[in-house]
């Protein structure tokens, strides 16, 4: 009880200590994440403003309907797996941080390794998805001719379907909004870059934990900071997922 009483009298803001009882690096990480949130916010708001200024926008259930081995007919199936992987990697990160609190080096190493695996799996999925979109061939009616287009920065094959026309048994569409590709690759790419840097950070943490750096320091604060970043990257994905795949 007595300790509690003194704690309540502690003047947190009067200097000589951290008012949030936080080590400076964690404070910096929080502010950095706020800053990064503004970067993503700017991207997503730009995307929203352009998307809603268009008369037509591709239907995500049509664009994202494939997975490795499945050619169409599985709307949002693959991206659900990706999302699941990323969320599970957040769970393993929580477990790593938890083991860090207990000072259990082996536990930290185990769960960090799983987090890295999760991050790499997500990146591999994203690489497949991009590759599939870019190299896909879709019949598009351009100036009265049918051309085979993939989805890239300057071409969008997901325009409105031309009624009554087929090409080798497939629908023929008109060109869709160009902005789609730019925003999709730009924003998911920027997020992927964050996942990639998160994986690098986690690998560094893993090596440091392996070498016993944190045991010598007596705390696993670095793991907590890496964890904050990793959770943030996951959280951003939830918004990216919402904006590109669900709406």
């Amino acid at each position: 009880m007595s300790t509690q009483a003194t704690v309540h009298q502690t003047k947190w803001w009067s200097g000589g200590k951290s008012p949030f009882n936080l080590e400076y690096g964690k404070l910096m990480m929080w502010y950095f994440l706020m800053s990064d949130a503004f970067t993503f916010g700017a991207f997503l708001i730009s995307y929203g403003s352009i998307r809603f200024s268009q008369n037509y926008w591709p239907n995500p259930n049509v664009v994202f309907d494939s997975a490795p081995g499945i050619h169409g007919g599985a709307p949002l199936f693959f991206v659900s797996i990706m999302t699941f992987i990323l969320i599970v990697s957040s769970v393993t990160m929580v477990l790593a941080v938890h083991e860090g609190h207990k000072g259990n080096r082996q536990g930290v190493i185990k769960w960090l390794a799983w987090t890295i695996v999760g991050g790499l799996a997500f990146l591999s999925c994203q690489a497949w998805e991009w590759h599939h979109l870019i190299t896909g061939e879709h019949a598009v009616l351009v100036n009265g001719q049918v051309e085979l287009w993939g989805q890239n920065m300057s071409h969008n094959p997901w325009g409105p379907v031309v009624e009554g026309v087929t090409y080798h048994g497939h629908h023929v569409t008109t060109p869709g909004p160009v902005a789609f590709g730019g925003y999709f690759f730009g924003i998911t790419g920027f997020h992927g870059f964050h996942v990639f840097s998160g994986v690098i950070i986690n690998i560094i943490m893993l090596v440091m934990a392996q070498k016993g750096v944190f045991d010598r320091r007596g705390h696993y604060l670095m793991i907590e900071k890496a964890g904050l970043y990793w959770h943030f990257v996951d959280l951003v994905w939830v918004f990216v997922f919402l904006c590109f795949y669900l709406i």
Partner: protein
Amino acid sequence: MSDAMSVHPEVVTTHDVHHDEHHVHHHKETFITKYVFSQDHKTIGKQFLITGIIWAIIGGLFSVLFRLQLGYPDQHFQILETVFGKWAEGGQIKPEFYYALVTMHGTVLVFFVLTAGLSGTFANILIPLQLGARDMASPFLNMLSYWFFFLASVIMLSSLFISTGPAASGWTVYPPLSALGQASEGSKLGMDMWLVSMAMFIVSSLLGGLNYISTILNMRTKGMSMTRMPLTIWAMFFTAVLGVLSFPVLLSGAILLLFDRNLGTSFYLSDIVVNGQILPNEGGSAILFQHLFWFLGHPEVYIILLPAMGMVSEILSVNSRKPIFGYMAMLGSLFAICILAFLVWAHHMFVTGLNPLLGSIFVLLTLLIAVPSAIKVFNWLTTLWRGNIRFTPATLFAIGFVSLFISGGLTGIFLGNSTIDIHLHDTMFVVAHFHIVMGVASFFGMLAGVYHWFPKMFGRYLNSTLGYIHFWVTIIGAYLIFWPMHYQGLAGMPRRYLDKSSWVSFTQFGELDKMITVVSIIVFAVQLMFVFNFFYSIFKGRKVTTQNPWGANTLEWTTPIRPGHGNWEGEIPEVHRWPYDYGKDGREFIPQTEPIGENESKH
């Protein structure tokens, strides 16, 4: 329970213990670790300052040279060809190159001088010293912050020497001009270099800003509560918050612009014909870039102005030997400005076809800024009022800041009204307004800071006689240069035009333009004199012999005259009072380290 609530031992003690150890057995310092890759906040601050001075000379020289052509549009100047070569063949600046010069002048002065050179310098030097900290929260990231700025500088400087010239679409780099290499020479490689340089600059500003914030929150010495901090520190704090939250948005905008330029995307481009060629881009919006740019661009002017405001508050109080008037009101105004800075960006875009209703909301929010600004001005004036003023060069520059802030602020009320702005937009009136209120005023704040803290930085004084000449020529010159531009703008003279002589209605301003040019040459020469004073005094200036030459209360004057890395020998002083106990109970000043006496009156 106890684990969660007890004070984290690591948090409280590392800092002190760690650095005290450092102090006992000094690290071997080489020239490289002491002056080049130094992690000492004071050295990093000086690096920012000197880099800023070099940039200021470059940016200022550009303005003098293009002013030469503006004042005498039909004349040929050999010096222009000597300096600019093919860009000024026959001694006359080419119109495209004029735009490149204006762009570089703006970019260099706004970002490299008045952002990095001003808040980079003084946040670094003053935050740990005035808070009672050994160094920044992370000295290493702090060092990186400077070197990213250095990298940005190298890239921007290199862009001046490439064959297609530097970026030439204004410091605001609006697309489509900035996005299309075929549209102008300056939109070729120079523009890519501008964007990459700015990305590096944003990283630098982020690393610095995160450090400033966490240092101010975490590293205050015992007794230094938030409301005992000098106003300089509060100003630096809000500046850092503004930077951390607004620069990332510019980063997003710049990345999208880079994609539009190099990857064929259409973020900002739609329905464009260049040189008879129809571009395939469609669906983008050039206005979108303006929103992203000004979401940074407007907070940016406060990033420039707030540190100057903070330093002026401190310098005026110290040198009028009176407490700052309305400390809490000053603090509240800084906070209000910080919030409003994020809510007014579209007042730069009244003529883009902005919805008039939305425009009127931005007018309201813009005019609201007049309230905290006026509070600050009145507080500065009442601080001076009946003070025992010591007119040091620093004081004069601080008073000059207040004068310029009033003059430039009042014209902001004109421009903040969307109806009047339709007439004034993109005229010389705007140029006059922002140069006075943001450019010259912040420069005055910065110079006041240099004169005031030079003894702390280098252990010597700047020459005061040169300082007085510097002040009087600069303030008179600044008004002579920028005041007449208001009249030109009201008459409708557009900005960014090299030669206006084909308009009969502007011929009346011909002589005025000549006068402005002559004055700007004189003012520039006097700045060079200051630069001479600065470098001469570092080595040969009068030596500081007392620890506290200005009789100031703040902690930086309790350090040794030439403090080493770690700032204080022995214990860090404890703070017992606010920093503005001047002229209290019959004493001229009472340092913050002095405990409150038994019979002391309240401030």
